[in-house]
């Protein structure tokens, strides 16, 4: 009987299975990508730190003075201390790599992962290599005896390759050399970036961390393994949030489609079920049978979804690398990390959703009154009954309340719960809403087909709701995503305009410790065609060991004494003799700082206390940024260098020519790593990147909506086919074929419109939760709502059209002459 049902309605069954599969696939892919990316990150951290129990890290790329090394080493709480110089550089092809300078005699105890590679390998280099030889991870493709060219700042360094680091994780782009040679070659004499520490036996990690922290200058921090893993979690959060949301969309849509498919299938088989009851089948048996059908659907969908998810994750990782294009570590495809437990869990999720979708239909099947169902092949339920609103109201109220809950572990779990609850509320309210929206139509003195269609929809809101729930879910969630993305894009666009006021921008890539020296800055400012030049210094600072580094920007102030930034609220004044600092929104939220607060910055080996004087929007630096006046920065650090500059062109100056002059004014090595571009172009590129990174999102959303529409199509056609006798009767009593077709098209259109309106309304609410709850809680930035009217209107129109078209196609079949005679079929 089950198989017969599915064979009779393969499309509907397929769509339900497909929806489950899409949901499971997305969820599983998100999990795999996340897990593999995290594993990759952990591997990177492990490779670089080995089994170090504890690390001391520089708060900025300037490193710390090497005299800290003996101070820490002699503390007595450590059994080994390994000093490390870290240089983030680029290969000749522009891809980034990490150069580590190690003392192999020290590293051998603390970071054997590197030292094993550095041990025997150090001896295997052959006579050709010298003391500045380096050893490369497998991902760096250069053999012993060759030379590796590395670029950093404006510097090119050619290093003889002595051999490989076979024990380093594939995918890591790592260069290991002797610490002294690296210090000399990269001009880091006297500076260290890291100390890897092994805690002495019998000393607790906390005690060791405390003892170490006590001797650290402001430009170094203790990092514990826990802080490390927390930080790596932060890196991939953005992706988890986005893709997790999409997975939820698909899975919930799938659940509702299973509900639709099962409800219809039950309705169609009422008499068969009734017959089974008469023949002695127990009600529980029927209930279990329907559940089992759902379970089979869920199982097939889940298995297909798991396979598709693994494939999806694999291609995403291949396409974007372990950090999904985030740039945290350089382009490598990490291996897929599949754990049996999580695989089963995701598969079970699909199964649970399918079972949940089958629950109500199964209860219905068990409740079919045998006698009545056998006597008339009529519809289940009482169309006259007012659909209840209380459950929907309850769900909605709970959902709204959840929106106000704080994040859990830095993740907007309640925000998601809120979205799910509001979606459930919307679907639960569908019968009521459909009735409310359609009833007025039935009273209109409209042409016959309109009145018939309206009467039918108003009279059978439950059926309308069954057809609609999948559509409402997918349309609602898509509208919510669309609203969020459009608001995000609009805000980013506005922000780009605010942070790029000059005509042309210059940026030295990857140059935290060098860039434009004062003489070069003066030369650039004096170029013909340049009206004004604003130099900026940007560098990264670690403010808290367990958080990723923030960006420090030293910017010349504008007219009011504060720089021109995309303010969230007008900046406030600061006291005489105070150093004002303006912090970005993510920094404000992450570190709980507001205007008027004092804030400590580790600069030039000292702790500088500044006054937070304003908060500005920033979508570029997720982990936070702080702006100082360039004059204050110069006074504190004596660093007059710059690595960014904005040029305002003189009126009438030829932009292309000026760009050429700026490029030519740079020394060749520096020019190789310097981007000079008109701000309009940067803005266009930024938006293009934005659109590209959301293109995946759009594509996946489109899939979700297509699945939703397909669900409606399958449901509508099934319902239409089930009404063949009704059409036969109407034909008898004098309805024309055209009238009935018009009725069906209108029904479909009404249905689609109701679904679209309800979905969009629901989407608007859920979009607001995404904008005001999920985004701030995940990314720590806010945005202004921007309504994508075109997208929403188009979506509504497309849904309406798709729905009516489906009804029309189904109607053609139902109106064949055989069907007309169906009035006389018994059942």
């Amino acid at each position: 009987m089950v198989r017969g049902e599915w064979r009779a309605h393969p499309i509907r069954t397929l769509v339900a299975v497909l929806a489950i599969a899409v949901g499971v696939a997305l969820g599983f892919a998100v999990h795999l990508v996340n897990r593999s990316a995290l594993a990759e990150f952990d591997a990177a951290v492990r490779t670089v730190t080995g089994s170090a129990d504890l690390r001391v890290e520089a708060v900025s790329a300037e490193g710390f003075d090497e005299s800290l090394y003996p101070r820490v080493a002699r503390l007595g709480v450590l059994s080994a201390t390994s000093p490390v110089v870290v240089v983030n550089a680029r290969a000749k092809d522009g891809r980034s790599l990490t150069v580590l300078g190690l003392d192999p005699l020290r590293a051998a105890r603390v970071t054997p992962a590197l030292a094993v590679g550095a041990g025997p390998a150090f001896g295997a280099g052959g006579a050709a290599s010298g003391e500045d030889s380096v050893w490369l991870s497998p991902a760096l493709d250069a053999g012993a005896g060759e030379r590796l060219e590395v670029r950093e700042g404006g510097r090119r360094v050619s290093l003889p390759v002595a051999g490989g680091l076979p024990s380093v994780e594939t995918g890591q782009r790592l260069v290991v050399g002797d610490i002294a040679a690296i210090q000399m070659k990269f001009d880091r004499i006297g500076r260290l970036d890291r100390l890897d520490l092994l805690i002495a036996p019998g000393v607790s990690p906390a005690a060791a961390a405390k003892a170490v922290a006590a001797v650290l200058p402001p430009d170094a921090r203790v990092v514990t393994p826990e802080a490390e893993s927390r930080r790596s979690g932060d890196l991939s959060r953005a992706y988890r949030v986005n893709l997790g949301m999409l997975a939820m969309v698909a899975l919930l849509t799938g659940g509702f489609l299973v509900f639709s498919a099962q409800s219809l299938s039950i309705a169609r088989r009422r008499s068969a079920f009734a017959l089974l009851q008469v023949l002695g089948q127990r009600r529980e048996g029927l209930f279990l049978q329907v559940l089992a059908e759902g379970a089979v659907l869920g199982l097939i969908g889940s298995v297909a979804g798991l396979l598709a998810g693994a494939a999806l994750a694999w291609s995403v990782l291949g396409l974007l690398g372990g950090d999904l294009g985030g740039g945290y570590f350089s382009g490598s495809r990490p291996p897929l990390e599949i754990s049996p437990a999580w695989t089963v869990l995701h598969g079970a999720l699909g199964l649970i959703v399918a079972l949940a979708g089958s629950l109500i239909p199964a209860l219905d099947a068990a409740r079919i009154p045998a006698a009545q169902a056998l006597k008339s092949a009529g519809q289940a339920g009482d169309p006259g009954r007012r659909p209840p609103l209380a459950p929907a109201l309850f769900l909605g109220a709970t959902g709204l309340a959840a929106a106000f809950a704080p994040p859990v572990g830095g993740l907007p779990l309640f925000g998601y719960a809120s979205i799910a609850l509001i979606l459930a509320a919307g679907v639960a309210a569908m019968p009521w809403l459909a009735r409310l929206m359609i009833a007025p139509l039935a009273r209109l003195p409209a042409p016959v087909p309109v009145r018939l269609a309206a009467a039918r929809l108003a009279g059978a809101p439950d059926q309308a709701a069954v057809a609609l729930c999948g559509l409402v879910a997918s349309a609602g969630l898509m509208a919510a995503m669309g609203l969020m993305v459009s608001s995000f894009r609009g805000s980013v666009d506005e922000w780009l305009g605010a942070i790029l006021p000059a005509d042309v921008y210059l940026r030295v890539a990857n140059a935290e410790t060098s860039g434009l020296d004062p003489a070069l800055q003066a030369a650039l400012a004096a170029l013909p065609g340049v009206d004004a030049m604003e130099s900026r210094r940007s560098l990264t600072l670690t403010l808290a060991a367990e958080r990723p580094a923030v960006t420090l920007l030293a910017i010349p102030p504008g007219e009011g004494g504060a720089p021109d930034l995309p303010w969230r609220a007008p900046p406030r004044a600061w006291g005489e003799g105070e150093v004002p600092a303006w912090i970005s929104e993510p920094l404000s939220r992450l570190y709980g700082l507001s205007p008027g607060d004092r804030m400590d910055l580790p600069l030039a080996g000292r702790t500088i206390t500044v006054r937070v004087s304003g908060v500005w929007r920033d979508y570029g630096r997720q982990f936070g940024a702080v702006v100082l006046r360039r004059s204050d920065y110069l006074q504190i650090t004596g660093d007059a260098g710059a690595n960014e500059a904005g040029f305002t062109l003189a009126p009438g100056a030829d932009r292309t020519e000026t760009l050429r002059r700026i490029r030519q004014a740079l020394p060749p090595d520096l020019a190789a790593q310097t981007e000079v571009a008109p701000s309009a172009e940067i803005r266009a590129v930024a938006l293009r990147i934005f659109d590209r990174s959301f293109a995946v999102t759009y594509a996946l959303e489109a899939v979700a909506v297509l699945v939703g529409v397909a669900g409606v199509a399958a449901t509508v056609s099934a319902q239409t086919l089930a009404r063949r006798r009704e059409f036969g009767m109407l034909r008898h009593v004098g309805a024309g074929r055209g009238q009935i077709q018009a009725m069906l098209v209108l029904e479909g259109a009404f249905l689609g419109a109701v679904g679209a309106v309800a979905g969009l309304a629901l989407g608007a609410v859920m979009g607001q939760i995404l904008i005001h709850v999920v985004n701030p809680q995940s990314f720590n930035w806010t945005m202004d709502t921007r309504w994508p009217w075109g997208l929403l209107g188009g979506l509504a129109l497309a849904l309406t059209l798709a729905s009516s078209l489906t009804a029309l196609l189904a109607g053609r079949n139902a109106l064949s002459s055989d069907a007309v005679r169906a009035v006389r079929e018994d059942w």
Partner: protein
């Protein structure tokens, strides 16, 4: 008489698609207000005959005039209009739309004929009163018993004053007592409104209520059961 007869059939022939002959040379005349029962074995073509008369199926030969209009002269919309104006139907399975109220179901032929909705509903209410369902206008079909559903169907069949009512086993789904009452109601209402009734039935008891009973066979309709 200037009024044409509700139904006039001459030389009607119909075969199954496979070629097996159902009947041929079938003639039938119904006068206004006349009730004729048609009986016959299963598969004799009773339902096919009704479809042919309703213009939903095409005969191999012969002519059907309804209220003086030859069906063959009409195109599809014309036949639809003809059904809407001159025919009423009562089905074994009632075919009352569950999502419409009793009055709305009854008013359906008027609505399809584009009668003003309020007028249509008041005419439907009158008709319902005539079949004993006064006060039930706003009920939904799910509240009605089988007999009440069939009375609604009867009201729907008569509400637009058709010349001819085609009733296909109208009592097949009812218990004998209800069946008898419903049939009585149908015939009385039809006679009152001078509508002819062609009653297809298996039930000899039902056929007794008719003015005359004909048997359908391969040679058409005869007064006696013909093999």
């Amino acid at each position: 008489m200037s009024t044409p007869p509700p139904l006039r059939i001459r030389g009607l022939a119909k075969s199954f698609p496979g070629g097996r002959l159902l009947f041929e040379g079938l003639d039938l005349d119904l006068a206004a207000g006349e009730v004729v029962a048609v009986m016959g074995e299963s598969g004799a073509g009773k339902s096919t005959l009704l479809n042919l008369i309703a213009g939903l199926d095409t005969a191999d030969a012969g002519a059907i005039d309804i209220a003086g209009t030859p069906l063959s002269s009409l195109d599809e919309p014309g036949r639809t209009r003809l059904r809407r104006e001159h025919l009423g139907f009562v089905f074994q399975a009632f075919h009352i739309l569950p999502y419409l109220t009793v009055a709305q179901n009854t008013a359906l032929p008027l609505v399809l004929a584009n009668v003003d909705p309020s007028q249509a509903l008041s005419r439907a209410a009158e008709m319902l009163a005539a079949v004993g369902l006064a006060g039930r206008e706003a009920d939904l079909p799910s509240r009605l018993s089988g007999g009440e559903l069939q009375r609604t169907a009867i009201a729907r069949a008569l509400v637009h004053h058709p010349a001819l009512i085609l009733a296909d086993e109208p009592t097949g789904n009812l218990d004998p007592e209800t069946a008898e009452r419903s049939l009585g109601l149908l015939l009385e209402a039809a006679r009152t409104r001078r509508a002819a009734v062609l009653l297809v039935t298996h039930s000899a008891r039902a056929a007794e209520s008719a003015d005359r009973t004909l048997f359908l066979g391969r040679r058409g309709l005869g007064a006696r059961h013909a093999v």
